[in-house]
């Protein structure tokens, strides 16, 4: 099995222009009385071929960030997206729905959380995969599109693709369905794949297969992957860099090796302390309390302060900025004081 080769992260400036750069992204959801800030001040950039992890507990805004990148929130009455999303030198937030449609599936693909419900039950899987190259006019005929679908099914490891393409989703196991969903994402030959917890619904052994597959496909196609997960094991093994998200904000950002060796934000530290390590028997330390619900996120100060052992007066008043070296950044008053 091929495993992640930890790449040295060069300073920001000498790198080629980013594939994706998100700046000050805010996503607000409309409640009955007011707009609730679900994602705040999220900024990051991704290079071609990079696997970036977005880590956090359920409900912290990971999936919403991903949907905002695809333009699937906002542009309706339910939500509002502010900030800048630059993708391949285009500002996605300025694009019309029609222009966005040309990007979805073709340039930014999405691999969803639950393979069991992500495939349309009433159409053969081959047709569902072929829909992507057909919709985005990568093929001139439907037959060609079907051929592309079968090639991708083969590449993601589905045996006998020409025959299986005619089967319906219910004839596939969970792992096979996730392979199908991935081949659906890849068949548009995108530059960025957003994989939203692609393995949460699968068995552990299948999880490893799917993540290996994504990893290999990254190597073959050079596409970048934004991997949303709450599993730090996945982050350690398959990702290049990671962002830790809490209550809609990014609190720490670093290359994976650095993050695991030197976690700085108390939330990251707590998160790591609450994961069991095979072979080491030590008491797990769950993080006290719960992540705040969307409507309980404090409007000022650090949202983690109520669960934080290091909370101080400053935490009540202002949210700290994300600061540090070009490589490792953290948003915590404790860290600022030390530095």
């Amino acid at each position: 099995m091929t495993r992640r080769s930890p790449r040295e992260f060069e300073p920001e400036k000498s790198r080629p222009p980013a594939l994706l750069s998100v700046d000050g992204l805010r996503v607000s959801l409309r409640s009955r009385t007011r707009m609730l800030p679900a994602v705040q001040e999220v900024s990051f950039s991704m290079q071609r071929g990079e696997i970036l992890a977005l880590v956090g507990e359920s409900g912290c805004g990971k999936s919403l960030t991903a949907q905002a990148l695809l333009g699937l929130v906002g542009k309706n009455s339910l939500g509002q997206v502010e900030g800048s999303i630059r993708f391949k030198d285009r500002e996605l937030t300025d694009l019309s729905e029609r222009e966005m449609r040309a990007i979805r599936g073709r340039e930014i693909a999405w691999v969803s959380q639950d393979p069991m419900t992500s495939l349309n039950p009433v159409y053969p899987v081959g047709a569902q995969i072929a829909e992507v190259p057909w919709l985005h006019q990568l093929c001139r005929t439907r037959n060609q599109a079907r051929g592309v679908a079968e090639r991708w099914m083969d590449r993601v490891g589905i045996p006998d693709p020409a025959l299986r393409a005619r089967d319906y989703p219910f004839a596939f196991s969970g792992g096979m369905r996730q392979r199908l969903v991935i081949s659906m994402g890849l068949s548009g030959e995108p530059d960025l794949i957003i994989a939203d917890e692609p393995t949460t619904a699968l068995d552990v052994t299948i999880q490893a297969q799917i993540l290996d597959l994504l990893h290999d496909l990254r190597a073959q196609t050079g596409c970048a992957i934004l991997l949303i997960t709450h599993d730090l094991g996945v982050v350690a093994q398959w990702c290049d860099a990671a962002m830790v998200m809490y209550a809609g904000r990014i609190v720490e950002k670093a290359p994976v090796g650095e993050l695991l060796a030197n976690p700085t934000h108390p939330y990251t530290q707590n998160l790591l302390a609450s994961v069991p390590t095979p072979g080491h028997r030590r008491p797990l330390q769950p993080i006290p309390g719960q992540a705040p619900a969307l409507e309980d996120i404090p409007s000022r100060g650090c949202p983690f302060r109520e669960r934080c052992a290091l909370a101080r007066a400053a935490c009540e008043v202002h949210m700290p900025d994300l600061v540090g070296s070009a490589v490792h950044r953290v948003a915590c008053w404790d860290r600022e004081v030390k530095a």
Partner: protein, 314 residues
């Protein structure tokens, strides 16, 4: 697939047998018989007995049933006790009217309900939704005979756009046929449409919340493809089930509508048979309608397998 159809057809046989048995017993509970109705004021015990003997009505009921059944199995449904016309011919003459009435009612209901229900779900809580739900409630609350009478008053008497009743055969005069059919089809189909609108709306709302629809959007599907291709076929599954049940209602409703509009269909034939205590004819009509109902349900189930591949080869 072939085996499935064959099995369903075989299963239909005991059902039809049961239907005919119940029908045979029930009509004999109605007071009066063919002889009393036929003779009317001239009824005497002796003449009544004579007619009964001619028609075999003096035999014990189980014997009558056995005789009827043995003939029916060879395709002979007997002769009308009243007119002497073979029952099969009466059915053949009346069938096209009912067939056309019921199918245009279903067509009208589908054409109206599917887009309305879909629009209602997509624009949930906005005006298309309110419009569809209003039609849904109104269509269910208005009795079809009353609606039929109102339609006749407005479109036939006042505006003169359509005849108030009667039937012109489709092949004789297609335009005239359409004019005679449009009001009854509307009156019959509206209640079905109402039920289908609500079903379509509910199942569409369910489908719209599904993950595969979000996936389709993420693939770059536009609204037309999203709703028309990805959602529509999935939403159709419960609608078809309800439609199958509603067709049964249509067969009953056509009795009422045919008499309101004076359409010489199977429903009117059944009504005449009951009025005349025409046992043989009524028996024939009931078995025929039962068969039709079973076949329609089989068709619906086959359509069901088509929209939902998971139950194929069931």
């Amino acid at each position: 697939m072939i085996f499935y159809i064959a099995r369903r057809l075989l299963l239909a046989i005991p059902v039809l047998f049961g239907i005919s048995l119940v029908a045979f017993a029930l009509v004999r509970l109605v007071p009066g018989d063919t002889a009393t109705v036929m003779l009317g004021m001239q009824y005497t015990e002796a003449r009544g007995e004579q007619i009964r003997a001619e028609m075999g009505l003096d035999q014990p009921v189980p014997v009558q049933y056995a005789i009827w059944l043995s003939r029916a199995l060879s395709g002979d449904l007997g002769q009308s006790g009243f007119t002497g016309q073979p029952v099969t011919r009466a059915l053949r003459e009346r069938l096209p009217v009912t067939l056309q009435l019921a199918s245009s009612a279903v067509l009208f209901a589908l054409v109206m309900a599917l887009p309305l229900g879909m629009m209602a779900a997509v624009n949930r809580g906005r005006w298309p939704d309110h419009l569809a739900m209003t039609v849904g409630v109104a269509g269910l609350s208005v009795p079809n005979f009353w609606l039929g009478i109102l339609l006749i008053l407005l479109f036939a008497r006042t505006l003169g756009w359509a005849p108030s009743g009667g039937f012109i055969h489709l092949f004789e005069d297609p335009v005239g046929n359409l004019r005679t059919m449009i009001l009854p089809a509307f009156a019959l189909g509206l209640a079905v449409a109402a039920v289908l609108i609500r079903t379509m709306r509910a199942s569409m709302l369910d489908v719209l919340g599904q993950e595969y629809l979000r996936m389709a959007r993420a693939k770059g599907c536009g609204p037309l493809r999203l709703y028309g291709v990805h959602a529509f076929r999935n939403a159709l599954v419960p609608v078809l089930t309800v439609l199958g049940i509603q067709v049964g209602y249509l067969l009953g409703g056509s009795v009422v509508i045919e008499s309101v509009f004076g359409l010489p269909g199977i429903g009117l034939l059944a009504l005449e048979a009951i009025r005349n205590r025409d046992y043989v004819l009524l028996q024939g009509v009931i078995v025929f309608v039962g068969t039709a109902f079973l076949l329609i349900n089989l068709t619906v189930d086959l359509l069901y397998a088509w929209v939902n591949p998971q139950i194929r080869y069931g």
